[in-house]
């Protein structure tokens, strides 16, 4: 069995009196792909936000065996990176966006690495010089994924990563997610298409009114 990368115990996210995420336990091993599906409003996106520590949550999270509470927020979020369903682009070019995360730490990505990342998500390498605000929804979604991967995370949290993609692009993106997982990156993906969840993930969960139920392992 793989070593555990993320261990979540009793995670609860409250909004007003409502438990949007209710006492969730979740283990994600190194290189494992976990999918979460469920009806709209059941708490899937909030679970990802809680895992990224963008939402106040009770319970405990261990990252590579260390208590998440002891890891500085910025470091933790670099290592457990959330890609939103509608990821906004920063000012500048596509390359500027892909370089955003490393630049925060004073690191830079060379042009070839940027082009490789674009290629791996079946985007034209020449797109690197385009204004990021001129991208279509599907292109933006893939650039957002490239931007997260460029940041060298340990865990990737993906909120409906294929929702704006056509079937061909969807296959490419799912293949790329599988490839990065083979290299040891752990993935928790909210997927609304059952078939995608079956093809992509090692373990499937279903979320219902904030509670996580194991569907298949």
């Amino acid at each position: 069995m793989h070593e555990q990368r993320l261990q979540v115990r009793g995670m609860t996210v409250r909004r007003a009196e409502r438990r949007v995420v209710d006492n969730v336990d979740l283990d994600v091993a190194r290189g494992q792909i976990v999918s979460v599906s469920g009806p709209s409003g059941c708490g899937k996106s909030t679970l990802l936000r809680g895992l990224a520590r963008l939402e106040p949550a009770s319970g405990s999270v261990l990252l590579d065996g260390s208590d998440a509470a002891s890891i500085p927020f910025a470091d933790y979020r670099r290592r457990v990176s959330l890609v939103f369903q509608e990821s906004p682009m920063f000012e500048g070019t596509v390359a500027d966006n892909i370089r955003f995360g490393p630049a925060l730490r004073g690191e830079s990505l060379d042009d070839e690495r940027v082009r490789d990342l674009l290629r791996s998500l079946s985007l034209e390498p020449d797109m690197a010089v385009r204004d990021a605000h001129e991208l279509s929804g599907g292109e933006r979604q893939r650039v957002a994924l490239a931007r997260a991967i460029a940041n060298d995370p340990d865990v990737l949290l993906l909120d409906e990563p294929t929702s704006a993609l056509d079937p061909a692009a969807t296959d490419e993106v799912l293949a790329q997610i599988a490839r990065v997982a083979e290299r040891g990156l752990s993935v928790v993906a909210v997927l609304h298409v059952e078939a995608q969840a079956r093809v992509l993930s090692d373990t499937r969960y279903r979320m219902k009114s904030g509670r996580l139920e194991l569907e298949a392992a």
């Binding site: 963008l54 106040p56 927020f73 470091d75 990176s81 959330l82 939103f84 920063f90 000012e91």
Partner: protein, 266 residues
């Protein structure tokens, strides 16, 4: 000093200009009549009252009285700056922050000038500290209002962009840096514009007042220049502190972006 005194009765005559504005408002159905009456009466009451307070302060020359007056002025400025902010945590939370931002900017812009540039003794001589301090405070107040409103409004409108930066490992300072810069820059523009057009577009109030009261214009312009440099300094310092404080208020202890519901328009 040689100047033409305005008798009270003639001052009342000047109020006819406001009556003219009220008539125009009524004719054009602007609905500003009540505001104009309240504004004109309030301005008269405030200024006449402050005239008597200044006479008291100038005659007593007690530094603690000057300090008290400056403290009251600063408190009103901080409260006014805070209650104009629509997208923030509310005026109660913002007023102490605005007070610190305006207060530090005020101290930086005023004290060295009174100590060395206009070497007035005692340092807090009411005749100098109150009018010059008032101008510095007004600019500090306007800058802080603009910075707070802009930072909070930006965070409200571009919250998803801030969260995106956080999700990639940015600290709140990194995530907010472009918006803070933008807010301080925009708030400083009026002070810079005033500096650039000084003497070409406007003859500022203090210089005009000094000239009217008989001061040699070549001396009056020196005072005005000092004031303009002070205004740029207070805008820069108060603006930067206000932006920093706004950012601190925007994030909780978990470096998560807070959301505030917009306050009613004032």
């Amino acid at each position: 000093m040689s100047y033409v005194e305005i008798p009270w009765i003639r001052l009342l005559g000047a109020a006819l200009l406001v009556v003219l504005a009220i008539l125009l408002s009524w004719k054009q159905k602007l609905g500003l009549g009540v505001d104009l009456v309240v504004g004109a009466v309030r301005a008269a009451v405030q200024l006449i009252a402050i005239g008597f307070v200044l006479v008291l302060l100038f005659n007593s020359e007690q530094p603690w009285l000057t300090l008290l007056a400056l403290f009251v002025m600063m408190s009103v400025a901080a409260w006014t700056a805070s209650r104009r902010v629509r997208h923030g945590p509310g005026w109660k939370a913002l007023t102490p922050r605005a007070f610190v931002a305006i207060g530090v900017g005020f101290a930086v812009a005023l004290l060295p000038v009174l100590a060395w540039v206009i070497p007035v003794r005692p340092l807090l001589s009411a005749r100098y500290a109150i009018p010059i301090g008032g101008m510095v405070l007004a600019t500090g107040m306007n800058t802080v209002t603009l910075v707070l409103e802009r930072v909070f409004a930006n965070a409200h409108q571009r919250g998803s962009l801030i969260e995106q930066a956080l999700a990639l490992g940015a600290t709140p300072a990194q995530a907010m840096a472009p918006m803070q810069r933008e807010a301080v820059r925009a708030a400083m523009l009026p002070s810079i514009n005033a500096l650039l057009t000084l003497g070409l577009v406007q003859l500022p109030g203090m210089m005009t007042g000094q000239i009217l009261s008989g001061t040699d214009p070549t001396h009056a312009v020196r005072y005005q220049l000092v004031i303009m440099y002070q205004l740029v300094a207070v805008a820069a310092v108060a603006g930067a502190i206000a932006a920093w404080m706004a950012r601190r208020a925007l994030f909780d202890e978990g470096a998560r972006l807070r959301t505030f519901s917009p306050a009613k328009k004032r």
